[in-house]
Structure formats: structure tokens, C-alpha cells
């Protein structure tokens, strides 16, 4: 094993099957998982899990699998499952899961669904996330708004946005209520708040749907209302996300769409007297689409060609139990993907709003990133289109039709690629499952 051989094994690993576990986390998130790994290693004497933090894990995993020397377990992002599984990079978990008695009903439906692709299960969740509106109560109070009343519709949010807007003597924006570009991580998914989807199995790519146009009309209103140049300048003053210069912490923006992880950053980087709240991010029509969120998950997978898949699953199975799962999610300050949650979990949880995120996961309007192999490309294209609109350089009318055309071509190519190997893959997977 590259880098593996050189690492000395502790004496308790003697005589055990050693499985390598690659994970993207560092810092306290890694510590939380390490604690669960230690528990697992202590709970039995047949398997020893070795936790290895790996940066840029999606790329390194790709090369390790292509090189025929992957780890036994890997931590991945849910949006990568489609691309990895279609390219034969993962081991189907169907049989393992059935034998272990793990069933869909144990989980919030969305987190189970995130592991499915092409009729097989490829991944089980480790720590899940949904995103929600975070707002700065102090700024609400300063602007004469009720600090305990978050916006309930997009129109309300925009009305507050105007009230929270603050310019200095030179006309430069020094505070904005909300800016969809901060942090701008879900550019291809905003359409969910307008009742649409970026992709559906029936219609394929939907980069230029009426709902997408509505979302873009919302983006277009920003340079119109606040000035493209002024927004640019404001955005330039934003420091790094993980720093005290995070614009939400410095009061440059009063509302932001974020996941449960933000709690950790507030604790580390926000001022002492920072007052904040969490609520579902309001949709265009809250009557029709309440509780919209993007659900994602960190997931555990067994790469194709792993040397000890049985033992690897043994570990994954351990993590899926209520006790270890709660320990992990509490350690990382997230919520549990399991439906069954102990009272102690919420009682001990330091994030006072953790329940908001968990409730959003159960919402019928919890959306997911599209399970398509060209997701990375789609997301980049969308981000580029949104940025261009914010510069005021072009409109949806100019951008979306060619974008849709390109994406349809890319999607068709990906479909073709799949159809070439589909029969062979499905046969292999069936055998894998039957074994």
C-alpha cells in the first residue's frame, strides 16, 4: 500500500485483518470519526480499521481505483455516487445490507435515496446535511426588523433585503440583507426554491426550464437593484469562509443559506455577541413549496477492487447503528440520518437549531443533487452563468439556451457511454450481489 506499508501498526492490530479507511475530514471532524473507529477496533478482535485523512479524496480515489490499489472503505460525497458507480468504481452493497438487516425504513428517505443509482445501493450515510437560512438577529434589530421573525417567503426576504441594505457616504454597499452568491455553493440547485429541478429522469437536463428562468429572474434582479459593480465590490470585501472575515460574521450580509456545519464556524470565528437563528430558506411560493432544502450526505463506500470488502462492510455496518452514529454526528455537530434518535442526542447537541435541519430532511420538498455523471460539469456551467448574470453582463435569455444545448449534448454523450457498457455492468453487479 502506498504510504500504508510505511505506517507502523499498533500492537493491538496484530493478527487482525487491517482495513484502510480514507476519509476527507481533518480537525475535529476527523477526531469524531476516529473516536468511532477506536470504539469499533475495541469492540472486536478480528478487524482493525486504520483511518487515513486524505485531501482531494474524489480525485485520489479515482486514481487509486484505476491503479488497482484502493482503500477498503472511503468517505465520499453523495453527489459523486452516480459518476463513481456508473464507472464501475464501487462495490454494490445490496447483499451486505440485506444480510445485515439494514433497511430503508431506518433512514430519512432522502439519505437512503442518495446511495442508490441504477437500481443498486452503493453507499450508506455517515454524516448528513441539509441547508437552511441563517440570519443575524442583531442586524435585524438594527434595521428595525423583528429579530425573531425570519422571512417566510422569497418576497418577504427581498423586502427585508432592502431594509437591511446599508451604503456608506461614497455609495458603496457595506451591508446587504442577502446575496445568493454568498456562499454560492448551490447555484445549480436554487431552482428547487422555485418548484423546479435541475434534471429529471423523464425530461433529462432542465437548464432552461420555466422554473430555472424564474430563478434567474431573481438573480437578474440583484444587479438591477443594487448595481453589478457595487455587488462586485461588496463581494470582494468578503474574506475566506473559515475565517473571522466571513461576511456573515462581519455583518456584511445578514442572511445566508448554510448547512449545520456553520455552527462550528460561528463558534470559532464569529464575534462573542453574535446572535443568530435558523429557519427553512423561504421558497417563491411557501404555500405550495414549504420546507425546501438541498439534502446531501457524507457517505461510506467500498471501492471496487477493495481487498477486504466483507470486513469493510462490517465496519460500515457498525457505524450505521444508532449508538455509534449518534456519537459521530454529535462529534461533528450534525444530525443523525437515522429516523430513530435518542432524546439524549438532542439534549446534548450544542447547536440549538439542529432540529430545524433534521426536520428539513424529512420535508417532502427536500431536494437532492441530480444523480447524473455530468453533475460536476453542470454545476460549473451553472455557477459560471450565475456569476455572469451578477456582473450584469448577460441575461438568462442569452445564457440559458446555449447552456441547455451544451448540457443536453454532454448528457447524451454520458448516456451513450453508459449504454455501451450497461449490459456488461449490470451482469457484473448482479453477480456481485448474488455472491
Amino acid at each position: 500500500m502506498l504510504g500504508g506499508c510505511s505506517r507502523e501498526l499498533p500492537p493491538e492490530a496484530e493478527g487482525r485483518v487491517v482495513i484502510d479507511y480514507w476519509e476527507k475530514w481533518t480537525g475535529f471532524e476527523a477526531e469524531a470519526m476516529q473516536a468511532v473507529v477506536d470504539d469499533f477496533n475495541a469492540s472486536q478482535d478480528r478487524i482493525y480499521v486504520r483511518y487515513l485523512p486524505v485531501s482531494q479524496i474524489d480525485r485520489k480515489l479515482l486514481l487509486a481505483i484505476a491503479g488497482g490499489n484502493p482503500p477498503d472503505v472511503a468517505g465520499m460525497w453523495s453527489y459523486a455516487v452516480a459518476a463513481y458507480s456508473e464507472n464501475n468504481a464501487l462495490t454494490p452493497l445490496d447483499t451486505y445490507v440485506a444480510e445485515a438487516g439494514i433497511v430503508e425504513e431506518d433512514y430519512y428517505p432522502i439519505f437512503w435515496e442518495l446511495g442508490l443509482h441504477r437500481g443498486h445501493l452503493w453507499a450508506l450515510p455517515s454524516t448528513p446535511a441539509t441547508n437552511a437560512l441563517h440570519w443575524n438577529k442583531k442586524l435585524f434589530r438594527d434595521a428595525g426588523l423583528d429579530p425573531d421573525k425570519p422571512p417566510r417567503s422569497l418576497a418577504e426576504l427581498e423586502a427585508m433585503n432592502e431594509k437591511l441594505l446599508l451604503r456608506d457616504a461614497n455609495g458603496r454597499i457595506i451591508r446587504l440583507g442577502h446575496n445568493p452568491q454568498e456562499p454560492g455553493w448551490w447555484n445549480a440547485s436554487w431552482v428547487a426554491w422555485f418548484g423546479g429541478e435541475p434534471w429529471t429522469p423523464e425530461d433529462g437536463m432542465l437548464a432552461d426550464s420555466p422554473q430555472m428562468r424564474e430563478a434567474f429572474a431573481w438573480f437578474e434582479s440583484y444587479p438591477e437593484r443594487f448595481g453589478g459593480h457595487d455587488l462586485q465590490q461588496l463581494r470582494n470585501s468578503f474574506g475566506n469562509f473559515a475565517s473571522p472575515q466571513n461576511p456573515f460574521f462581519t455583518g456584511r450580509v445578514a442572511m445566508t443559506l448554510q448547512g449545520p456545519w456553520l455552527y462550528n464556524f460561528i463558534k470559532d470565528y464569529a464575534p462573542e455577541d453574535f446572535e443568530w437563528g435558523v429557519a427553512p430558506f423561504p421558497s417563491l411560493d411557501p404555500e405550495r413549496w414549504p420546507g425546501v432544502t438541498i439534502a446531501e450526505s457524507d457517505q461510506l463506500v467500498i471501492p471496487a477492487g477493495a481487498k477486504h470488502p466483507e470486513e469493510a462492510f462490517e465496519f460500515i455496518r457498525y457505524v450505521q447503528q444508532q449508538g455509534p452514529m449518534e456519537k459521530l454526528c454529535l462529534g461533528q455537530k450534525k444530525f443523525s440520518p437515522l429516523v430513530e434518535v435518542s432524546d439524549a442526542f438532542y439534549a446534548e447537541h450544542p447547536n440549538p437549531y439542529i432540529k430545524v435541519f433534521a426536520d428539513l430532511a424529512a420535508s417532502p420538498n427536500a431536494a437532492r443533487t441530480s444523480p447524473i455523471t455530468i453533475w460536476n460539469e453542470y454545476r460549473n456551467e451553472m455557477t459560471n452563468a450565475v456569476d455572469t448574470v451578477f456582473l450584469g453582463d448577460a441575461t438568462a435569455e442569452d445564457l440559458l439556451p446555449p447552456l441547455q444545448k451544451n448540457m443536453v449534448e454532454a448528457y447524451d454523450r454520458a448516456q451513450e457511454r453508459w449504454e455501451r457498457v450497461a449490459e456488461q455492468r449490470e451482469e457484473e453487479w448482479r453477480q456481485d450481489v448474488e455472491e
Binding site: 479515482l62 464501475n88 462586485q232 465590490q233 461588496l234 463581494r235 455523471t373 460536476n376 460549473n380
Partner: protein, 305 residues
């Protein structure tokens, strides 16, 4: 071939064999295999499938590829002359016999020692349109200008305005010209003093000496630095990638061909197509280098000849 020629050839080959081996394994093999892969659909994890010239046909219609090529040519067209001129000027200045000369030489070389990532992060902050030091330095000039002419011009928002991202990157690249300065300095010290003395006797001033003695004598060094800058600027990747935080910059103004290859290969798993783009880029660099070679033959002077 006589026996002694044969032995010399053998010994010569033996001496450069480590390089030959390295070249074949690390350069020639990847080059040839990327040529082969450019005719396939290859996702790295699945077996490549032959698709004929599909990738090249796609490339002709791919707006992003052409945009990346335009960005690359634009960057090369300005950064090569700029960094050559600046490094040559600094080399000439640092060649003056002045006290503390070696200290200055060290200072101007220091930026080249910085890892590109640190450099990228550093310039990200220097070029920040709101709180960057560069604009803080420019502000007084703009203020004076505005007061005199009654305008309200502001310094550019370097990294957020598509019109200014490439100039900003060129500025950053020029700053790292330390390597070229060192090579120029070595060239300058090779110019025979007797030529300067002869020129001085003929009454030549500093600029005449520079134009008629120094430049012709170091022309091979200029040529070498020029070719290196050419190849380097067509492969530009790390600096814009860091400065934009891994994106393509506003309006894709910092998406270079190398960046696009990386995205296609490792983010979109489109290795066959990425190989085709790489090969086209290689052809461009090859043609330009050959062009530079033939043009420069008229203007370079080798002392040994």
C-alpha cells in the same frame, strides 16, 4: 565509423542513458499514449473505447476550448514580451558595479523561490479590489485625477472584472521573472570586456553599447529565455488556479487551455477528450517554437561560430 568513433558514441550514450530512460518513460510514453487515448472515449476507470476522430470534431465546435485558447494566446502575447523586457532591464541594472549589488540580486530573485501556491494567495490579497494594497497605493493618484478633471474614476477591481483579470495575472507573472534575471546576468557576464572598451574608444554611450554590444552578444540567452517563457505561458495553470480559488475567474476570463484540460480529465472524467485538447495545445507550442527558432536564427549570434 571508425572504432574510436564507435567507442565514443557508446560512452556518450551510456552517460546520457539515465536521461534517455527518463525521457522515454516519463515523456515519450505519456506523449504517445495520450495520442492514442485522444481517439478514444476514456473515463480512466472504464476501458477506453475507440471513437475515431470524434474528440477532434467535438473540439472544433467547443466554444469553451476556443475561449481557453484565446485566453492562453492573449496571456502569452503580453506576458512573454513583458517578462522578457522586465527581466532584461533588471539584469542590466543588477549588472552595474555597485555596492550591495548581491543583496539586490537576492531580493529580486526571492519571489522565484516562493512556491506558486503562496504566491497565488499573496496576490489574491494584493489585488483585492476592495481592501487590496495595490489599489490602496493607486487610490491617491485616482483621487488627484478625479479632483482635477471632476471625474469619478476608481482603480480597477482586478480579480472580479473580466477586463482586468488577465492584466493582473500578467503583472503577477512578471513579478516572478527572477529565474530569467539570473540567466540574463550569467549571459551579461560573458560579454567580453574588450568589446565594451573598443566601443568606448569609439565614443559609444551607455545605450549605444547596450544596443550594439550587449544585446547581440547575449542574443542566444534572449532566445533561450524567450522559448522558456513561450512554453511556460502556454502551460500556465497553477497561478490562475490558485488566484481564482479553483474557478475559471469572472466570465471565464482566466480559463486557460491547461485549466480546461485538467477539468475535462479529472473533474469530468473525459480523459480521451482532454488528451485531444492536450495534443492540439502541444502542436501549437511546437509550431510556435519552430517559428521562433527559424526567425531567431537570423538574429542570434553564437560566439563559438
Amino acid at each position: 565509423m571508425s572504432r574510436s568513433d564507435w567507442i565514443r558514441l557508446r560512452n556518450g550514450l551510456l552517460f546520457i542513458s539515465p536521461w534517455i530512460l527518463g525521457f522515454v518513460v516519463l515523456n515519450l510514453y505519456p506523449l504517445l499514449s495520450s495520442f492514442a487515448y485522444s481517439f478514444t472515449d476514456y473515463s480512466v476507470l472504464s476501458d477506453p473505447v475507440y471513437v475515431g476522430t470524434d474528440n477532434y470534431e467535438r473540439l472544433l465546435k467547443d466554444g469553451l476550448f476556443w475561449q481557453s485558447l484565446y485566453n492562453t494566446f492573449f496571456f502569452a502575447a503580453f506576458s512573454i514580451p513583458a517578462s522578457l523586457a522586465v527581466s532584461l532591464i533588471f539584469a542590466v541594472l543588477l549588472n552595474f558595479e555597485l555596492p550591495g549589488r548581491s543583496i539586490f540580486r537576492t531580493i529580486y530573485f526571492l519571489p522565484s523561490l516562493l512556491p506558486l501556491v503562496c504566491l497565488g494567495v499573496l496576490w489574491q490579497w494584493l489585488l483585492n479590489g476592495d481592501i487590496g494594497l495595490i489599489n490602496a497605493a493607486l487610490d491617491p493618484f485616482f483621487d488627484t485625477f478625479n479632483r482635477i478633471f471632476g471625474t469619478s474614476v476608481r482603480p480597477p477591481n482586478w480579480l472580479a472584472d473580466p477586463a482586468f483579470t488577465k492584466p493582473a495575472l500578467i503583472l503577477t507573472t512578471v513579478w516572478t521573472a527572477g529565474n530569467a534575471v539570473v540567466i540574463f546576468l550569467a549571459g551579461l557576464q560573458d560579454v567580453p570586456r574588450s568589446l565594451y572598451e573598443a566601443a568606448e574608444i569609439d565614443g559609444a554611450n551607455f545605450f549605444q553599447k547596450l544596443l550594439h554590444v550587449t544585446l547581440p552578444m547575449i542574443s542566444p540567452v534572449i532566445y533561450f529565455n524567450g522559448i522558456m517563457a513561450l512554453i511556460g505561458s502556454f502551460q500556465v495553470f497553477a497561478l490562475p488556479f490558485i488566484i481564482t480559488g479553483g474557478s475559471d475567474g469572472p466570465g471565464r476570463s482566466l480559463m486557460f487551455t491547461a485549466t480546461y484540460i485538467y477539468r475535462r480529465a479529472f473533474e469530468y472524467w473525459d480523459m480521451g477528450y482532454a488528451c485531444a485538447i492536450g495534443l492540439v495545445l502541444f502542436l501549437f507550442v511546437l509550431v510556435l517554437t519552430l517559428l521562433a527558432h527559424f526567425i531567431s536564427q537570423r538574429y542570434t549570434y553564437y560566439q563559438g561560430e
